[in-house]
Symmetry: C2
Subunit: 127 residues, 2 copies
DNA sequence: ATGAAAACGATAATGATTATCATTATTAAG
DNA sequence: CTTAATAATGATAATCATTATCGTTTTCAT
């Protein structure tokens, strides 16, 4: 008996908003912007649906260590860069960094499923 | 006028406890264990002194994305592995993974100061 | 010994997120 | 087109790690 999803205008709007931006917004930012179309939307609804979208694989959580989650509709494998100046989160392709897991598997005998890699510095606007 | 540190038995005990363990304890764990010698110690004292030790470079914060900070008296550059089974945090040397920042600098034109790299999987006991 | 300032313990406050719960919206079946 | 089930909502309380506040205690140079 997996939970049978029902349609929701709020969830639709959330997903298309998330898909329309290149930034990696927080729940709070999405909440503020959804208020344009849904003046009565609740922050709880935003969190609920973000969790749903992540479970469904239509979005992913981006943790850059700034104590709040960011969200990304691009679920393809890639890394992120956090600018210490403007605090923006920027995509970084991971083509050049394949097989990072391998040396850890081999040297320590751990089974490495995934890794998290975040870069910190100044973006081209802030440097 | 930089803050003039004064000696504190609680801070001494915190540092030597942290230096004596290979795990990467949380503030809560350190607090519970310091109670042996300081029954009246406050959790605030533990947090205060952990922040101080980090500022002084005698300890470092380890963020593995589990919503609480871990602490490490080994401030030499190394990575961490989080076991999804026993939730323990294990050191990983970074010898095999030098120059991770470089490709990002070159390709995106960002000034990359640091990066955070955490591995997830099962340790040799849990796999 | 003494006084300024650091550190303390207790505890309230914060901020992001989750849980609760009464009400509303969606949807499949009659 | 009703209706009944159940998912989703909005409002808000609760949670949990961490920080701030504040009156009291320690530390330490004088």
């Amino acid at each position: 008996m997996p939970i049978q999803l029902k349609h929701s205008r709020q969830r639709d709007a959330l997903l298309s908003l998330l898909q329309s931006v290149y930034s990696h917004p927080t729940a709070e930012w999405l909440y503020e912007n959804l208020k344009m179309d849904f003046p009565n939307i609740s922050l709880a609804t935003v969190y609920r649906n973000l969790n749903l979208l992540c479970e469904q694989g239509m979005a992913m959580r981006v943790d850059v260590g700034d104590d709040k989650n960011h969200f990304d509709a691009n679920t393809k494998n890639h890394y992120h860069f956090l600018c210490k100046g403007c605090r923006s989160v920027i995509d970084v392709s991971n083509e050049e960094l394949s097989d990072v897991n391998l040396p850890v598997e081999e040297k320590f005998g751990f089974k490495v499923d995934t890794h998290s890699l975040v870069f910190f510095g100044l973006c081209d606007k802030c440097r």
